[in-house]
């Protein structure tokens, strides 16, 4: 093989290996955590999710607004414990455009209905089914709350129960956007 | 026709024939030096007789295999006992092929005890036919397990030839540091083989005496509903307990040599009743192996390697090197096909993924990579002979670990049924 031809072949092959190899190694470095929604990223969409009155909500309906998505279940004590606090903060800030969507973890009608009799909640209670939304949001434990700014990006993620102070701090950050 | 009883009978016949064959090969090799014999003719005659016996043994072994298949309704490759006896049979097949090419009675003197050791070890495990769980009901099972066993059998013969090479070339009169290191490691390898023999002898001895000790391990835990749950597990030991399982009580224990309670308790990181039992077995194996080795050493009054070394006098070490290499070269494609490719096909079919990095799969890959490195190193002249033989020994160790170590120590989807 002549010198020059050979050199070109070598370079081509080495570049090919570099590209494929880079791709291969790259997938290991960036892959697995891609599925999980992260701070700074966009929240996974959901469409036509029913609330307890039967109205349908889509995440897109709230574009441009500050949104707090809280995942909860009747069997989760810290979720239950923080509900009054969420209600109070919602009352305080709803006039500034705050939207609260409390997505229940795929429980059935009777359980939710009976449970809500004990509380007086004015924010929207949405119903997940078959854990579909829960999986999309890659939840590891409950409660998990996502705070989404007006720009449509996740500003904060809180795992575990919150009290009035914590909720208020998150909301104030949201309202600054 | 009770296939299974024919099968057991055939197994015993094979075992007896292999032992006889082994003794005849020894006569063929050692008898050369006896007085009033013409070496070449003596070797030829006795090798011939030995080969007849070892072939008859193989025939009996094949009868065992096929009658067990008939009796069980499925190919007998699904538990530890079955797999090890299969491996023994494959080693005999590999040996027969290589003997036909090279006509070396010396190979017989080493390959046969290897087979005997392996099938004796097999007999330690539960022998009953166990019906297959759904994931084992597949044609690819047959192909994968037999292919892997055949490939490994060739590696085993390569190991035997490699060991012979080491015994042949290690100069026991050389006192230099490197020679001493060589002698030490060779002696250590022989010691390991004796430990395995010791394990088998011990197990059979105590089993024959009907020894039993039982332990109860109870663990109190709280489940998700706030209930107290008492999990009790009993484990039976068939060897006197030097070590009892962590956090357990003696239920019954036959005294042995004045020992009426266990000496130690297994450390707490060995959790599970069976971990304690396995640890006890390991301790017994090492103990009995060491005693056995000590006795042999006392009798011989020199390293065992030095005892065997003169027997190999006159053999061209290059031939041994060649046999070892050839065995591995023949076995490698077979192992690739049976141990890896068929395994991938079967895994894809049964579990939906052709490779899951489970420990058994990884160790099969490690075996494959190791022998691949061996074959590449053989391209360089400098790696023939001594280094090559050591590699064939290490390679076989890896094969045995893949077979036994992974099952016993590491768990996974792949474990065999019926491990003791």
């Amino acid at each position: 093989m002549k010198g020059r031809e050979r050199k070109i072949t070598q370079i081509v092959i080495l570049i090919g290996i570099l590209l494929l190899g880079g791709y291969a190694v790259g997938t290991t470095l960036f892959a697995s955590d891609d599925e999980k929604p992260k701070i700074g990223g966009r929240p996974p969409a959901f469409d036509n999710v029913a609330d307890i009155e039967g109205n349908l909500h889509s995440l897109d309906d709230y574009k441009g607004k500050p949104v707090m998505i809280n995942f909860w279940g009747t069997f989760c004590p810290p979720c239950v414990a923080e509900m009054p606090a969420i209600e109070r903060q919602y009352q305080k800030y709803k006039d500034q455009g705050l939207v609260v969507l409390a997505i229940n973890l795929s429980e059935d009608d009777i359980t939710i209905r009976d449970f809500l009799k004990r509380f007086d909640l004015s924010y929207s209670i949405l119903r997940d089914k078959n854990r579909m939304i829960e999986r999309r949001y890659a939840l590891r434990s409950y409660p998990t709350t996502f705070f989404i700014g007006r720009d449509g990006r996740i500003m904060d993620i809180d795992v575990g129960g919150m009290d009035d102070e914590e909720i208020e701090q998150y909301i104030l950050r949201l309202l600054e956007t | 026709m009770n296939w299974l009883s024919i099968s057991s009978g055939a197994f015993l016949a094979a075992f007896a024939l292999y032992c006889t064959g082994f003794l005849l090969y020894v006569i063929a090799v050692i008898g050369r030096k006896w007085k009033n014999r013409e070496p070449a003719a003596h070797t030829r005659k006795w090798s011939g007789i030995a080969f007849v016996f070892s072939s008859l043994g193989l025939a009996a072994h094949l009868v065992f295999f096929f009658t067990r298949w008939a009796g069980a309704g499925h190919i007998p490759t699904s538990n530890m006992y079955e797999f090890l006896t299969l491996l023994g049979m494959m080693i005999m097949i590999a040996f027969t092929i290589l003997y036909a090419i090279y006509r070396s009675p010396l190979l017989g003197m080493f390959a046969l005890p290897l087979t005997i050791l392996i099938i004796a070890y097999a007999a330690v495990f539960p022998q009953e036919v166990q019906p297959l769980v759904p994931s084992l009901q597949s044609n690819w099972l047959r192909l994968h397990v037999t292919g892997a066993a055949l490939g490994e059998a060739f590696f085993a013969v390569g190991f035997a030839a490699g060991l012979m090479y080491l015994l042949r070339v290690t100069d026991y009169n050389d006192r230099s540091a490197s020679a001493r290191r060589s002698q030490f490691w060779l002696e250590f390898s022989l010691y390991v083989l004796i430990v395995v023999a010791g394990f088998i002898i011990t197990v059979f001895a105590f089993r024959g005496a009907g020894y039993e000790a039982t332990f109860l391990q109870e663990e109190l835990s709280i489940d998700a509903r706030g209930n107290e749950v008492l999990t009790s597990q009993t484990v039976e030991y068939q060897l006197p307990p030097i070590v009892k399982p962590h956090n357990s009580e003696v239920v019954a224990m036959q005294p042995f040599l004045g020992l009426d309670r266990p000496l130690f308790t297994a450390p707490d990181w060995m959790n599970g009743v069976n971990a304690g039992r396995k640890f006890n077995t390991v301790i017994w194996s090492v103990l009995s192996g060491t005693i056995l080795y000590g006795l042999l050493r006392l009798l011989a009054r020199k390293p065992l390697g030095a005892v065997i070394h003169p027997l190999l006098d006159g053999i061209d070490p290059d031939d041994l090197d060649e046999i070892s290499y050839r065995a591995i070269a023949i076995g490698f494609p077979i192992f690739t096909l049976g141990g890896l490719i068929f395994a991938m096909i079967w895994a894809e079919q049964a579990w939906g993924r052709f490779w899951g990095w489970d420990p058994k799969e990884v160790w099969a890959l490690i075996t494959w990579l190791f022998y691949s490195a061996y074959l590449h190193l053989r391209l360089s002249r400098g790696w023939h002979g001594l280094k090559s033989s050591w590699l064939s020994v290490i390679g076989f160790l890896i094969v045995m670990f893949t077979l036994i170590g992974v099952n016993l120590i590491i768990a996974g989807l792949h474990s065999y049924a019926g491990v003791s």
Binding site: A24, G73, V80, N130 | V133, P134, A350, V362, W363
Partner: protein
Amino acid sequence: MFENTKCECGHQNPPDTTLCESCGKPLGEEALSDRPLEMRYDGVARRSQKKNPNPIDRIWNFFSSVKVAVVLIVVTLVGATLGTIYPQKNTFITFDPSYYEETYGLPGKIYYMLGLHRTYESWWFITLLVMIGASLVICSLDRVLPLYRALSKQQVRKHLQFLTRQRVTYAADLQGGDEEWTARLAEQLRKKRYRVTAEKTALLAEKNRFSRWGPYINHIGLIVFLLAVLARAIPGWQMDQYVGVREGEAVPIPETNYYVKNLDFEVEYYPDEELPERLKGTLRPKRFMTKAELYVCEANCGSTALEPVLRKVKAHDILVNDPLEYKGLKLYQFDYDTTPRLKTIHPVLVDLESGASYGPFELSILEPAPEYEVGPYRLKLITRFLDFTVNASGEPANLSNQPNAPAFLFLIQGPDLPAEGETFFYFPIPTDRERFGQDLINGAMAERFDIRVTDMANVEFAGDVSYLNVRVDRALPYVFVGAFISLIGLVMGFYWQHRRVWLRIDGGRLTLGAHTNKNWYGLRSEVAAALRAAGLEADPKSLDNGGRNK
């Protein structure tokens, strides 16, 4: 700088050629020694080993080295062992990072910190595989081309030194004509299936050249295999999910537009007669199967409120080694759960004082009706718990959203009862009834009434749950193609050997040299046999010209 490498036979050789391409005479350094010839690549210059390799050459030479390849293999091997020490992350369905430290203590913690819990997906392991891939490509390219060149143009009459310095060599004085002897030897070699190219007084006998290509075909196979494995990282080419489907239900398959329905699940256990002593009484599954249907969702997919519009596309009985396959999607039978779960019961209301029993009435666990008329009594459902427990504040609550311990709170109204009714707690499962003290909770009402199921026929259980593993693996066919090509290469390379015999007769003197890439033992036997058949005295050992490294 031009090196003059013209051989005495007249042929102009490229620089660094160690054996003349035409007549085989040893050149350069090779000419100075008298050891057996280095026959690799037939002495052709393998690559231009320039004096000052530029960076490209350096990288190329690095990957071209067999020594480097062996090092890479060994490092990969050792790296792989590390991943078997503790269970890897992918063996857990839900992974908990604290597992390693909790179960194994400090070594476990170190293992996790080093990232060894995902050894086989780690950047360094993948880098090793990439480097092995590079080595495969470059090693092969670097060698196969010179080899092909060398083997395609072989000369028949070789230089005497070439012949006498082969590892297998033979010389003898012959009685009779040179040409007759050549023909006779050619005949014997042909009988041994050599392809003989003969000139009048010299010949080249060759067989199994194809075996030389074996290693390269093996390498190509491995490269295809690795590329196929890499291709699985392409989005959409690979998926691995688990879904649990209860009998009678359909569930969506995440990340796809498909739904799978479990029409029926069956499990068969080995009866005790078929089990050995030790295993009797254990539930050893013989066969388990899901009658499944696959649907494509056409509208309202992924909606939690609206009913998805489904169209059936495939039906199949899924067994462990027999998946449902549809357009690259495969559903494998993975596991099952036959834990009985109540669905509907038909209890009766018993008036303990009079002994009368009313009903039975249909009580659904998951969707109970708000009111029941049972005899003269009316039962109003106040609330229902799915998984009853008493929480930290002493209040009744649910432990989970699964119906593991259902409980109903009724308001009973009717004759001999106050107008506003009396409350009654009912636990369908007897162990729950005991555990939570139903009679204690109900107080006086426990002596007047009881709700009980009188017959197991009045209990309906929810179906079994079948767990399926859903997979897509578009790269799979290529994976196996690569593996098989590799295997063919191995078989070609190891089960045949490339053998060549050259001989020339000069004035009654036969000089013969032979070469093979492996199995010298066999070559010597074969050549000796051919010589003997031609009438010459030859013994395999005598042909041996040494050349082993001690």
